[in-house]
């Protein structure tokens, strides 16, 4: 029943206790705040940095060179753009040094719209991240996957972006994480820092167990024959909801794939589903020009052109400079439930 924020926190605690995580750091990551989204509250190795993203990524690289295992945070992915060259260098260290230097770092950052974040707290990052070779990029849509992907990211000896859908950070899973107490209130009493003075507060960590979502493994969250819907992160639950509504109201059924890993991605699952349905829709909230979904579309066209019965399609955010504060901007530029539902309906009903 944990939220994504709690799940990541417990995975980081598991990482500190069992996987050799030496440093969890970033702006406001350490006490007293424990992260602007509470993701790092109570962690033993959490510390606050100067307000300097380049220093955060550079220091993470240095810690990794010297044998540490860092997990660092860019507070919002909107603030990662001044570090793109350092991401590129972190991604090339093994290749550049012909295998001499590994770069086991995890960078987590909240991404996407949905919290009324206006221009500078609503960016997406997956398309940018997917263009930085040498990295792995994961993005959960629920707490259990967040827990399993974070543990995988820590265990992986390569640089991994853990993109967190910020609008879902407080969304609770219907399932329990392995080791999590059954009562959500009890969990909150154990690991959520109190409001106000928390000088003497210590978390009571549940005895969590290892759970891994392998990097590069998607999940088929709905099964059906009328189309393949590929999504991840914040829009995945909307795709599921739309698919369920269309099943109920119109009898359409879809393969809904939660990609979970942006790179490497689960091509086998995509490929198998597209061959079955002949219809494919890729949904995300990133801006539509040079969007990661276009890469998937290219592979679908390249490798499954003759398997398709209708044109393959995408549903993406509008190519505009930002998300406007007035909700009329956001609801008219970022795919909403109605847009997703309409796109799925079209996918199922377009004549072949």
């Amino acid at each position: 029943m944990a939220s994504i924020a709690q799940a990541v926190r417990m995975a980081l605690h598991y990482g500190e206790k069992h996987l050799g995580v030496t440093d969890v750091f970033g702006e406001d990551v350490g006490p007293p705040l424990g992260g602007v989204f509470t993701v790092t509250q109570g962690l033993k190795t959490a510390w606050n940095t100067p307000l300097d993203e380049r220093g955060i990524i550079g220091t993470a690289m240095g810690i990794a060179y010297a044998g540490g295992r860092p997990v660092c945070e860019i507070q919002f992915c909107d603030y990662a753009f001044n570090v793109l060259d350092m991401f590129k260098i972190a991604g090339n260290q093994r290749w550049a040094s012909a295998g001499e230097f590994d770069m086991p770092i995890v960078v987590m950052t909240p991404t996407g719209a949905g919290i009324r974040g206006s221009l500078y707290h609503s960016h997406c990052f997956e398309s940018w991240a997917s263009r930085i070779p040498g990295w792995k990029v994961v993005m959960p849509s629920n707490a259990l996957d967040a827990y399993g992907l974070m543990i995988a990211a820590i265990k992986d000896p390569n640089p991994v972006f853990m993109l967190l859908p910020k609008a879902l950070l407080r969304a609770r899973d219907t399932r329990l994480l392995p080791g999590e107490p059954a009562d959500a209130d009890e969990l909150s009493r154990m690991i959520d820092a109190p409001i106000g003075d928390r000088t003497d507060w210590q978390p009571q960590w549940p005895d969590m167990e290892e759970y891994i979502v392998p990097i590069g493994k998607a999940e088929l969250v709905r099964e059906g024959g009328d189309g393949t819907v590929i999504s991840y992160g914040r829009l995945l639950p909307l795709c599921v909801q739309a698919a369920d509504e269309l099943a109920r109201d119109h009898g359409h059924s879809f393969d809904v794939i939660d990609l979970r890993s942006i790179f490497p991605y689960d091509w086998e699952m995509i490929s198998r589903s597209v061959q079955k349905t002949g219809r494919v829709l890729i949904v995300n909230e990133d801006t539509e020009i040079t969007n990661y979904a276009e890469h998937l579309l290219r592979r679908v066209v390249d490798e499954h052109f003759y398997d398709l019965t209708i044109r393959p399609r995408t549903l993406m955010g509008k190519h505009i400079p930002g998300i406007g504060m007035n909700q009329n901007y956001e609801i008219n530029s970022v795919p909403q439930l109605g847009d997703v539902r309409a796109a799925l309906r079209e996918l199922a009903t377009d004549p072949a």
Binding site: T22, D23, T49, P50, D52, R54, G55, I57, G58, T59, A60, M61, G62, I63, A64, Y65, A66, G67, G68, P70, D85, M86, I89, Q93, R94, W95, A96, S97, A98, G99, E100, F101, D102, P104, P133, G134, K136, A152, K155, D156, P157, N158, I212, P214, I215, G216, K217, S261, F263, P264, Y265, D266, W267, E268, S271, R299
Partner: protein, 370 residues
């Protein structure tokens, strides 16, 4: 007769020198500072090796055996004095080196064979630093804590606090040394290093080294920067700092010695700026022609050693001949070695991972590609 576009070697030119030795001195002096004569000769020999290797490298870049040259002729005193004082080894007990692309002298003084430099320049599969992938002088030696050099200016200053942080926790005398030019200090990453090395209670053993040759490619420092000394940048952070004449090996050796002792024992940062010459311009992109009119540290040190009787011109010539033979042999051997192949393109992208379903061993092309 050298080709028109080829400079004559510095090592063959110069003023008349004494040919006989007077009583050999025990120490070499510069003002009030001294080093032993024995050390001076060691420095001199390593400086000659460095210059010879750089000149041979420039020749390769002009002959077409290599595509590009960048390096540090004019910085030999600084580089050799640094390399000889490194605590060389692997892990946080030893020094970490975040170098830039003018540090051949550091590596030679640390013990890198010339051929490993040439292998990178000649883009051989045997290049231990990058398998023929990177520019020359972009070293990477895990066994010596030499982290991969990048061409991106100043990023190493943002990474240095990370290795130093682990060293501070580890204890002992291992320090982090980070090297860059003065032009790069305009980047925010320089300020990052100053700031992150002095968090209250978390001061880090980082030795920040700035070689000031007064140019960023073609741009004169004094047209883009008002500060008088880079070392003045240390003051707001309470960091100890010094500027030293990088063309005086005696002063450089002692300045590095003082700075390293301070970082090793106090576990705090130090900023050392060395004023150096740039004798072949920025790189082969600007022609790499010999620049006259700047102090040549090799020539002035040679004269000083001869004048005080520490060496004679016969011995000097023998050292130069030996270094040239070493460089020539390295080039001949490296050029016979294999080049990278098509199969090398994807190799060493990813470390093996037990949690990766697509790339458990290494990159193999697009996910699921047949």
């Amino acid at each position: 007769m050298p080709e028109l576009n080829e400079d004559s070697s510095d090592l063959d030119s110069g003023s008349p020198r004494r040919t006989t030795r007077t009583a050999a001195p025990a120490v070499i002096r510069s003002g009030r500072e001294v080093i032993s004569a024995e050390l001076a000769l060691t420095l001199f020999r390593q400086m000659i090796r460095t210059r010879v290797l750089e000149e041979r490298s420039i020749k390769m870049s002009k002959s077409g055996e290599a595509y590009f040259w960048i390096g540090g002729p004019g910085e030999e005193a600084f580089n050799v004095c640094l390399g000889l004082q490194v605590h060389r080894g692997h892990g946080p007990a030893f020094d970490y080196l975040h170098l830039h692309y003018r540090n051949a002298g550091v590596m030679l003084a640390m013990g890198m064979p010339m051929i490993n430099h040439v292998r990178q320049l000649a883009m051989r599969q045997t290049d231990p630093h990058s398998r023929g992938r990177n520019f020359v002088g972009h070293y990477a030696v895990k066994a010596w804590n030499v982290v991969p050099v990048s061409s991106v200016i100043e990023v190493q200053f943002a990474m240095a606090p990370g290795t130093a942080l682990i060293q501070k926790r580890h204890g002992g005398e291992g320090i982090t040394m980070v090297v860059g030019g003065e032009a790069g200090t305009a980047e925010g990453d320089f300020e990052t290093c100053l700031n992150w090395s002095t968090r209250p209670g978390q001061e880090l053993p980082v030795l920040m080294l700035v070689t000031n040759n007064r140019y960023g490619i073609s741009t004169d420092l004094h047209t883009v920067c008002a500060e008088k000394l880079v070392s003045d940048r240390a003051a707001p952070y309470g960091i100890r700092a010094e500027s030293v004449d990088g063309n005086d090996p005696v002063l450089v050796w002692n300045a590095l010695d003082r700075a390293m002792r301070y970082c090793r024992r106090e576990r705090k940062p130090f900023l050392l700026e060395a004023m150096v010459s740039r004798l072949h311009g920025h790189s082969s992109s600007s022609g790499a022609q010999r620049v006259w009119g700047e102090t040549d540290v090799l020539a002035t040190f040679e004269q000083k050693l001869i004048d005080c009787g520490a060496i004679d011109s016969v011995a000097v010539q023998a050292m130069k001949d030996e270094a040239k033979a070493e460089a020539d042999a390295a080039v001949v051997a490296a050029m016979k070695e294999p080049e990278p192949t098509r199969e090398d393109v994807y190799r060493f992208t990813y470390a093996p991972s037990e949690v990766d379903a697509v790339y458990p061993k290494d990159y193999t092309g697009l996910p699921g590609a047949k």
